[in-house]
Symmetry: C2
Subunit: 678 residues, 2 copies
């Protein structure tokens, strides 16, 4: 490719991006104008097939500064992804394939959803972890099935966010040399010059994390330097690389180098002079010179040949290593192994009471040998979350002597937000990875930004969220979730399980493992709970079901987790007082909501007052109940049984509320909360 | 103080801490055993008065690794704070003054609530900012009223959390030389040796942030080094200091240096040998040698003299500088200036429609000249949040030429979580600081960990949370909050305002400024809204009120923010169809819930079906309504009016739901959702 053609391609990318923002009169032209040369130089080096976006050995490109998505859409269009010029013209319009920030689930070729700053670079760490784990698991001395790289672009904003610090520190520790990041050092953020708030020495910081660093002084123009930097990064055996790319935001615009060009469309005369400056017709929009079109077409053809070669390699691999080959093929097809569910334990009421976190440990230990795609870890709470299965080797760089890259247990350190984004990256890698991360339920909140992106991006990750209530006891209110379940349950496309016993724990994991597009949070107790009469994996899999059925009940108690058995005991007391109470366990709102209305109404019928019982915020429970017994205040430090007594979450306390509910609704006609007007 | 006495004091601190954990059979003995010498050396140098914990010029001590709180409680007890030996014996018991993690609101002498890792060191940055701002505002060439220091202890976990990276980077930028932090480098976290996940070069990282660093090789024993390090740190004119303190976790225990000593009580024989090793009677518990008691008593007396001197200085100051002096005395008494509310703008329906973020800007611009204690900033969204008042100088180190330490506008950078914790620190400083921070509502989630601590700690900070719905338009679902209000409303002691017009914005700020113990989130629109007939600051101050009153309405619509005017237009349509609908604006659940039941029932009475209308998650609205019109899915990128049409949040769409509600409840007896059984 000649230098002139390179330049023409770059100008095309720049102007396609500017035209998108111009058509929408909304968006961010600054980053695409500054980053187009580096992006072009990187994409020239990347292996990928626009016609098979799932090819497992493709290189991944992550635009962590997602507001610059016009750049990404221009590239995807030019490289022949399923994105037309018409799509570019619909930039940021309702229903388009070119939303205001890149959305993985909706735009072909977008690897992960970015925009919320710091997420993309952290997803990239997850992708790099997955690639290392995948390669270490399936490559053979004579077969390299996986050797792809992860390229990430990130801006100053991404570097300021703590999530990127967490993920970058871990990436350095893990020696992820398959990760190559470009810092767009344009010295501008929304508040103006970065010197108002961001004057740290970024390069020194990344060196401190154990990264290799490279500096490119003229990122606006120096393609060779970018290409050489990629070579150098690829040659480093044991470190991720951060490339400082000095660029000019809004390169070529009359406002270049200012924050005026960051987040608003250029003025009409600015667009005109820009096109003239780059040798384009100022009256033409969305122009793609033929030689540019041809170049990208050729590049794709070459890349497709590479994929075809890879497919042949895979075929030989399957022949020579039928066991691994079959497993690999199964994983690439997104199927789970036959009979995997047999590994899920089930329980009888006579089985020994146990904390649901302990029951979760049993499930994980049972599933790990059956599901090679199951990997996970904890944010430095392994012994509390009980997330490590028997004999689960650690995912560590071989050099540190603590594990191996084929290990499946990840030591995340105390980095919940980074863990959440890394989990998203692992899931986005493909190969059917089912990955989980453990922390206390309360500290899932630290990762809120990543959790909502799991849900938005349809990434089936699983949070093992132990210590799920005031029942954790002495650690006190700083550690006791109150609002957390309401928060998580209000997130669309998120399954939030709070199992009451062993069978429900198994059901929660069954749902999580089977999920292909819904993330899961499994909230688990620190304290012991009994196995319930009437529970089963099958019943619990409906998200909600009747545990104690009464003929013409006076009241139905609906509950979750550790409060189900307390409610059961309350019902025994109520019976003595002549009150007939039914019991419903509702481990997951999301799953229950998907059941047919007839089933749901059979569980929570008309004509009976319903009382919900859960020892966290009552917020949201009125969706299923007429009366709510819950907490409207923070918890306290003390022995768990003492705290339960203090808040009256005892059989007596529940029975008292149930009796009051019966009394209050006596003689009143009662509609199920599930019966609604629209 | 002799070396022997120092040693005896340290042993006393260690053993009091061990005895607390032992009595509770729960807690963290490791950190107190390792950190007692450094804590002792630091507290010896600190100025504070246990009998006046609000003294504004006290040095602050922050235990960021809050799980080590037994250490802090031992010190507070020995120094004569309002904490008795009986309280130590009640460590981690329900109702005690010695909860499992230090809680600022409940334990005298605890400056900020810690435990959730990374928060304390970030609070410390806020305290240091407040001290700098306070000193620069009130010190005179001949009067130094404020020259206190902030000392923080932090562990490896705090350093792994991204929040500390955010706050530390900003602290370096701001050249906060009044901040002295000790990193307890004991190489152990819950998962064992920190080398499993945390191998970065912390000292190099902090140097990169612009911190001064010091290393102490023998933190278990070398008191002189600690004292010298404090001297050195105090002498640095323009940098915060991080002191790497190499210690042995669980020093003296049979399990010292292992994670076995981190989070569980020591075994009985271990406690015995420890006491013997330190020359104490193994059969005695909670022992305090008399000479130790006397020493601490003397120290306090000396410190009290210092405070008495300071009070004299203040008196002279008030005489010489009556204007500043009176202002200062007013602030220290926690009073707001007379007539400050006159600065709150009020509006008539004929006033021009405006985005509530714009109306918020007017309020801030009006209040800033009246309230010197009002300071705030934005997480790099100043031009979007509109958080900067006219002529609001920047809080910057004088050396960088961008502002001054008496400035009141803080450039937080893209660091929401750090900002949240820094806001908590500023509020915890005292001097009546009212401080706010701006970001998009969706990104308040990044700061969840800090927001819940504001609420738990009763710190009246204010979030200016703009772009509060799908109404932000083109930026799309990555930026559009759905679950966010449900999340925040479920947090106890948090006021979450979503004002509908100018008067409601003023009411929200009135509530925030008057608050002394409840944090506020004010959710504001990007798009314009009209000023409503019937709104007033007084009405809105009830949290919920009737905007359109009907005699015997067929339905009442209850709504918030930008959907109130849409609902109003729907009511006009319904009237034409012969349906009488009332309208209630509910800008803040928290404030409304505090009104008398009779008032609340006058707003949301029995006998009328109530429909809630809000373009975010419906979750939680059933507390106030029978039917909920809201979103159960993510938003989309597009023009705001297009998105509103897509989700049918138009007058027609609302009218349709209202008509269906009327139809559905026809003939059914209806109870207000506010009428409950218990």
């Amino acid at each position: 490719m000649s230098k002139d053609l390179d330049q023409l391609a770059i100008s095309t990318i720049r102007l396609l991006s500017v035209d998108q923002v111009d058509a929408a009169q909304s968006g961010h032209p600054g980053a695409p104008l500054g980053l187009a040369p580096a992006a072009h130089a990187v994409w020239k080096r990347m292996r990928f097939n626009p016609k098979n976006t799932d090819w497992i050995n493709r290189d991944r490109f992550i635009l962590s500064n997602g507001h610059g998505c016009a750049l990404l859409y221009s590239l995807l269009f030019l490289y022949g992804y399923d994105l037309s010029i018409q799509d570019l013209k619909q930039f940021r319009q309702l229903g388009s394939k070119t939303p205001g920030h890149p959305e993985a689930h909706d735009v072909p070729g977008v690897e992960v959803t970015t925009g919320p700053l710091g997420q993309g670079i952290s997803n990239a760490v997850g992708l790099a972890i997955a690639q290392k784990q995948f390669a270490a698991t399936y490559n053979k001395p004579d077969f390299t099935l996986s050797d792809s790289f992860v390229y990430a672009f990130l801006g100053d904003g991404c570097l300021m966010e703590g999530i990127s610090s967490e993920a970058s520190s871990l990436a350095g520790h893990l020696q992820l040399n398959n990760l190559i990041a470009f810092w767009d050092d344009n010295r501008i953020s929304i508040d103006g010059d970065t010197n108002v708030a961001f004057t740290e020495d970024v390069i020194a910081r990344y060196k401190a994390y154990g990264w290799h660093t490279i500096e490119i002084a003229h990122g606006d123009t120096d393609l060779d330097a970018v290409s050489k930097a990629v070579d150098e990064a690829k040659s480093i055996p044991d470190k991720p690389t951060l490339i400082r790319l000095t660029t000019t935001i809004g390169f070529g615009s009359l406002q270049q180098g200012t924050h005026g060009v960051h987040g608003a469309a250029l003025k009409a005369d600015d667009v005109r002079q820009l096109k003239e400056k780059f040798g384009f017709n100022p009256d033409e929009h969305f122009a793609v010179p033929n030689e540019v079109k041809d170049y990208f077409h050729e590049h794709v053809k070459e890349n497709q040949k590479i994929e075809a070669e890879w497919n042949k390699t895979l075929a030989s691999y399957v022949e020579k290593y039928p066991k691994e080959g079959k497993e690999l093929q199964r994983r690439l097809s997104g199927k789970l192994p036959d009979g995997w569910k047999d590994a899920l334990p089930s329980y009888k009421p006579s089985d020994k009471a146990a904390a649901t976190r302990k029951l979760s440990e049993t499930v994980l230990s049972n599933l790990l040998p059956v599901l090679p795609e199951l990997i996970g870890g904890s944010a430095d709470l392994t012994g509390s979350n009980l997330t490590k299965g028997t004999d689960q080797a650690e995912f560590q760089p071989p050099a540190n002597g603590l594990g191996k890259f084929s290990g499946r247990y990840i030591r995340y350190g105390v980095r919940e937000h980074g863990m959440g984004a890394i989990m998203n990256g692992i899931a986005a890698f493909g190969a059917n990875y089912k990955n989980y991360g453990g922390t206390f339920l309360n500290f899932v909140s630290y990762a809120s930004g990543a959790v909502r992106l799991s849900a938005l991006s349809h990434l089936p990750v699983t949070w093992v969220a132990t210590h799920d209530s005031i029942g954790l006891g002495e650690d006190g209110p700083t550690h006791q979730p109150i609002e957390t379940l309401a928060h998580l349950r209000a997130i669309p496309n998120l399954s939030v399980w709070r199992p009451a016993d062993g069978n429900e724990v198994s059901a929660a994991y069954q749902s999580a493992i089977e999920s292909t597009s819904t993330p899961h949070v499994i909230a688990l107790t620190r304290q012991g709970v009994p196995h319930l009469e009437g529970s089963s994996i099958e019943n619990a899999s409906k998200g909600g079901y009747t545990l104690i059925k009464q003929d013409k009940p006076d009241v139905i108690i609906v509950s979750s987790g550790s409060e189900v058995s307390i409610s059961r005991d309350a019902i025994a007391q109520l019976e003595k007082a002549g009150i007939k109470a039914g019991l419903v366990s509702l481990p997951d709102f999301h799953t229950f909501d998907k059941q047919p209305q007839s089933y749901r109404l059979s569980v929570l019928p008309d004509g009976v007052p319903i009382l919900s019982v859960e020892v966290l915020s009552r917020f949201g429970w009125s969706k299923y109940s007429h009366e709510q017994f819950g907490l409207d205040h923070f918890g306290a430090s003390g022995k768990a049984p003492d705290i339960y007594k203090w808040v009256e979450f005892t059989p007596e306390g529940v029975a008292d509320r149930a009796a009051k509910t019966v009394q209050f609704y006596k003689g009143k006609p009662i509609l199920s909360p599930l019966n609604t007007a629209f």
